[in-house]
């Protein structure tokens, strides 16, 4: 039943992911042998980027690591010999080679980052809706002490200290501990979630830096390269990393798919989920466990800031486009994968574009594009909607003001000056002039000689109808105030569209009673006289 969940938009992404996957599976000696590397490889090494000692690990966490910052792709050692054959061809050939995925290294990086973007987009959707967008930030910082302790323990027991599973499990334990502390602070004290996140981030990271100060003093050789395991090396991502990311991404996606209904309920309304008997705490821990998992493999592959960005930006961008959770999740996965692929490709094509940062910038571009252009939640759409509404109200105000003036002075040879009209309502001369211009274009008003304005027959009948409807709304609000608020639809021009016929008939009868049966198109000032009810005006 839950597998009803389908992602039509995924197909484009999947094709892109399957191709490099096939290439990676085939290995370096696969069908398209890597005889070519990207010219970026010739980039001079950047100080503080390539060859940091461990004391620079915190800098690396801030993304100056090779992964999130430093170099773009560089060749793997085994293809180093091929570097000399790097073609002097123009950019066009680079494009072709990139898109045809001829380079083994490119295939790995694309596969790894693409899968990472996909998984973190899906998981990020749930954390975003759970209002825990910054959890990834706090957790990824909280992993540092566990990592350092794992390293110290490993060395203490006489191992090399560089064993990946040990380091990763240290980071995972520390991340989960950080999460437990966040939940404890939030539920056990009167502090808010953001403060809890900040405390864990600051204190854990501080402890981690202090521990790194000790790790640095380990006998030389032990610590070297520790940071490479953890703080990102997109450029030198190897097939094993890509498969690790792939496995985690697949597992995470499977869990999200199977528990989609439960996670959705948790994200939207945990109180309701609790009342319905869902294991809310267990689900919360599961969701956070997924964040920890994807952060660990991501940190190790691409660096800290990129990981935080991938968990937040795609989901936030997808949120603009839809109100449905399944679509949002699929879209977030698509945006995450697309920006990863796009960023990694751009970084491969242009020298001096660090891959991690480029991925973030592509994702941010998509976010701002979505924020501006999305159909119903986008900024532009909302501005336009508001503008349309304001215009409608202004038009109605003008017609009703003219109608009221006409009713006071009698129909024959009537006209009203601009100044009188200006004084009738609280509008500026500029907006009144604009509205008059628009109404004249619509054929509702015309200008009499001697600076007078009057209604055309078409305008008069429209104005009369508006006035009548306005009066009916007032009556409705006066008599049915208990139910009215929910029924008043300011956008409906016609009262008939909103109210049922019986009510309308009753209201008409009441109106007729008050006025003494007057024909529909010439209603004189009603029971409220010149006083306008802002409510029936639509609050304009």
């Amino acid at each position: 039943m839950m597998l009803r969940f389908s992602f039509p938009r995924w197909w484009a992404v999947l094709i892109w992911l399957v191709v490099p996957a096939a290439g990676v599976a085939a290995g370096p000696e696969g069908p398209v042998r890597a005889s070519w590397t990207l010219p970026v490889a010739e980039l001079p090494r950047i100080r503080g980027v390539g060859e940091c000692d461990l004391s620079a690990a915190p800098d690396r966490m801030f993304g100056v690591a090779p992964g999130s910052g430093g170099r773009a792709f560089s060749p793997r050692p085994e293809s180093a010999g091929a570097r000399s054959t790097a073609p002097a061809a123009g950019r066009g050939s680079h494009w072709r080679r990139l898109w045809r995925l001829e380079d083994y290294n490119t295939r790995i990086v694309l596969l790894g980052t693409g899968l990472l973007g996909l998984a973190s987009g899906v998981i990020g959707s749930f954390t975003l809706l759970r209002r825990r967008a910054l959890v990834g930030d706090a957790l990824s910082h909280a992993m540092l002490p566990g990592l350092a302790i794992a390293f110290l323990l490993a060395v203490g027991w006489g191992h090399s200290g560089r064993s990946l599973p040990l380091l990763l499990s240290g980071a995972a334990v520390s991340g989960l501990l950080g999460m437990a502390v966040i939940l404890l602070i939030r539920h056990g004290t009167r502090l808010h979630e953001d403060t809890a996140l900040g405390i864990v981030l600051g204190v854990f990271f501080g402890a981690g830096v202090a521990l790194l100060g000790v790790v640095q003093q380990m006998p030389a050789g032990h610590a070297a390269g520790l940071e490479d395991f953890i703080f990102g090396k997109t450029a030198s991502m190897v097939a094993r990393d890509a498969w690790l990311i792939g496995a985690v991404a697949f597992g995470g996606l499977l869990i999200c798919l199977l528990l989609f209904k439960e996670l959705r309920l948790l994200s939207f309304d945990d109180q309701y989920a609790r009342a319905k008997g869902f294991p809310v705490v267990a689900l919360d821990v599961l969701l956070i466990g997924l964040v920890v998992l994807v952060t660990i493999v991501g940190l190790q592959a691409v660096g800290l800031v990129l990981m935080i960005a991938l968990l937040i930006i795609p989901a936030a961008a997808a949120r603009f486009w839809t109100e449905r959770m399944d679509r949002m999740t699929g879209l977030a996965a698509g945006i995450g994968a697309f920006s990863s692929l796009m960023g990694a490709s751009l970084s491969a094509l242009f020298p001096q574009l660090p891959s991690g940062a480029t991925i973030v910038l592509v994702a941010a571009g998509l976010f701002f594009g979505s924020m501006l252009l999305a159909p119903s939640r986008g900024v532009l759409a909302r501005v336009l909607r508001r503008r349309r509404l304001e215009r409608m109200f202004a038009r109605q105000h003008l017609l009703r003001a003219l109608d009221a003036s006409r009713a006071r002075h009698g129909a024959a040879g009537w006209s009203v000056t601009f100044e009188t009209l200006l004084a009738a309502r609280s509008w500026s001369a500029r907006s009144l002039r604009r509205e008059l211009r628009r109404a004249r274009r619509a054929g509702w008003v015309e200008r009499r000689p001697g600076d007078g304005w009057c209604l055309t027959p078409a305008g008069a009948s429209r104005a009369a109808r508006l006035t009548r409807e306005h009066r009916l709304w007032e009556l409705y609000l006066l008599t049915h105030a208990d139910v009215a608020a929910g029924r008043v639809d300011h956008r409906a021009e016609m009262i008939e569209e909103v109210l049922d016929p019986q009510t309308l008939q009753r209201l008409e009868a009441m109106l007729a009673e008050e006025l003494g049966a007057v024909p529909e198109d010439s209603v004189p000032p009603g029971p409220l006289g010149a006083v306008e009810s802002p409510r029936a005006d639509g609050g304009a």
Binding site: P44, I46, R47, G48, V49, C52, P58, D59, R60, F62, G63, V64, G69, G70, L128, R131, R132, A133, L134, D137, T189, L191, D194, T195, L197, G198, I199, L201, G202, V203, F204, F205, G206, A207, V209, A210, L211, L212, G213, V214, Q217, V305, L306, A309, I312, A315, A316, Q352, L353, P354, A357, T358, I359, V360, L361, A364, F367, M371, R377, V379
Partner: protein, 439 residues
């Protein structure tokens, strides 16, 4: 104690001074960040300033401090503004808006720096991750005093923050607790907000240029959060946070020197240990704070349960004593009657013996004279309530006992007197049992 022997006032003294200045300056502003639920802003700003640094470098072509500082502050404020802008315009959750802003700005800065790296050695790490240990080496000569540059800069920032908080204390308070009221009472809440954001950016930039990013992020939040657990008043919270921040800085440096020694290593990073020390204070406060600490709250929650159990024991024994005077009661029988855990009952019985209300004899527990008097009061309350509930409130007989059982624990002698008046001084309760006299 090797660290104490190696203490050098010229070096360690200045390091501690710089740490304290930074910690207090950050904590002063942090109070308002914590109250306004913007705790993560410090972290975001410290990432968001990167393009400012790069842009300053591109524009001036030098690595001198002032343009870098200005650029960083500008982008720090921009981070805050952009976050708000995304949140309001795009109706995005605050945390997500923050995350989008700072990661995007950081990535932008990174690209700029990598482009610059061709021509110059610009190491972002050295800006983002300062080295507190190097503080005393770079000195300025001020009126004959050799003062480290960092100390001067942080001192100025601290004074700035202090003036801001004291001069605008009332306004800040109002804005933090009720921004709507602040706006209606006529001053610009938005203006104050941006002023606060600018100072946060200035503090963050000045601090992590010298003492490191971790310390400032931690000090913005941890000491104020600790202070929030200690007091309900804003003034005291600010003072507490400043004191705690200074203490964590001092303790952090000592810890950085001393703790690794225990394990046979040399000293470690001071700023990391300062953050860790602040975390230690927070843990202590979360556990032992007088009102909001875990211990106090747990005790408060259980206080009533213990009191009710203690009184129930006496009341039950009094009733048994009524039926067969002088009989001793075994603990197992009490436990069965009261349906309670054996540990809790044991504790309560010991307590009642200490209060002199019962004694342990060969056959079991007996009420003392004092215990009988206490029990009589309880049982009298119980039965008076039953009578009152029947005569005045018309509660059906089968529900009487439950109600009275609850009410007896809240009834003193004065209330019993009024119950007697309201029920015309009855001799027996509705079940026909005699009501014991007041003793």
């Amino acid at each position: 104690m090797a660290w104490a022997a190696g203490w050098n006032w010229q070096l360690d003294g200045w390091i501690v001074v710089a740490g304290v200045l930074c910690a207090v300056a950050a904590a002063l502003l942090g109070n308002f960040l914590v109250l306004r639920k913007m705790s993560m802003l410090g972290d975001a700003i410290s990432h968001g300033v990167l393009p400012g640094l790069a842009a300053a470098f591109f524009l001036t072509g030098s690595r001198s401090s002032l343009p870098m500082f200005l650029g960083a502050v500008l982008f720090g404020v921009l981070t805050a503004v952009m976050t708000q802008w995304i949140r309001d315009l795009g109706r995005v959750d605050e945390g997500a808006a923050l995350g989008v802003t700072f990661t995007a700005l950081f990535a932008l800065g990174l690209v700029m720096i990598v482009r610059a790296a061709d021509r110059v050695q610009l190491d972002p790490g050295c800006v983002l991750y300062g080295a507190l240990e190097l503080t005393p080496l770079d000195r300025w000569d001020l009126a004959g005093w050799e003062i480290p540059r960092v100390v001067v800069v942080l001192g100025v920032v601290l004074m700035l923050n202090l003036v801001f908080v004291t001069l605008l204390y009332k306004e800040l308070k109002l804005c933090s607790f009720d921004p709507a009221l602040a706006t209606t009472s006529g001053f610009h809440a938005g203006l104050l907000h941006y002023l606060l954001m600018s100072l946060v950016a200035v503090t963050a930039v000045a601090s992590f240029e010298s003492v490191g990013n971790i310390l400032v992020v931690a000090m913005f939040i941890v000491p104020p959060a600790t202070a929030a657990l200690l007091t309900d008043r804003l003034g005291r919270m600010i003072v507490w946070s400043a004191v705690l921040a200074a203490l964590s800085a001092v303790l952090g440096h000592i810890g950085a020197l001393a703790v690794p020694e225990w394990f046979g290593y040399r000293s470690t990073t001071t700023s990391g240990m300062m953050a860790f020390a602040a975390g230690g204070f927070f843990l202590l406060a979360a556990l032992f704070a007088p009102r909001y600490g875990w211990v106090a709250r747990t005790l408060r929650q259980h206080q009533w349960a213990w009191r009710v159990l203690a009184e129930d024991v006496i009341a039950v024994m009094y009733r048994w004593d009524e039926r067969e005077p002088g009989g001793a009661v075994r603990r197992s029988r009490l436990q069965k009657q009261l349906v309670t855990g054996s540990f809790a009952l044991r504790v309560v019985l010991i307590w009642q013996r200490l209060r002199g209300r019962m004694r342990l004899e060969a056959g079991g527990y007996c009420l003392t004279e004092r215990g009988i008097r206490y029990g009589r009061g309880l049982v009298r309350s119980h039965r008076l309530w039953e009578q009152y509930l029947v005569s005045a409130a018309g509660v059906p007989l089968e529900r009487l006992h439950e109600e009275a059982e609850r009410l007896e624990h809240f009834t003193g002698e004065a209330l019993r007197q009024r119950l007697v008046q309201a029920t015309n001084a009855p001799r027996r309760d509705p079940h026909g049992t005699p009501i014991p006299p007041e003793s």
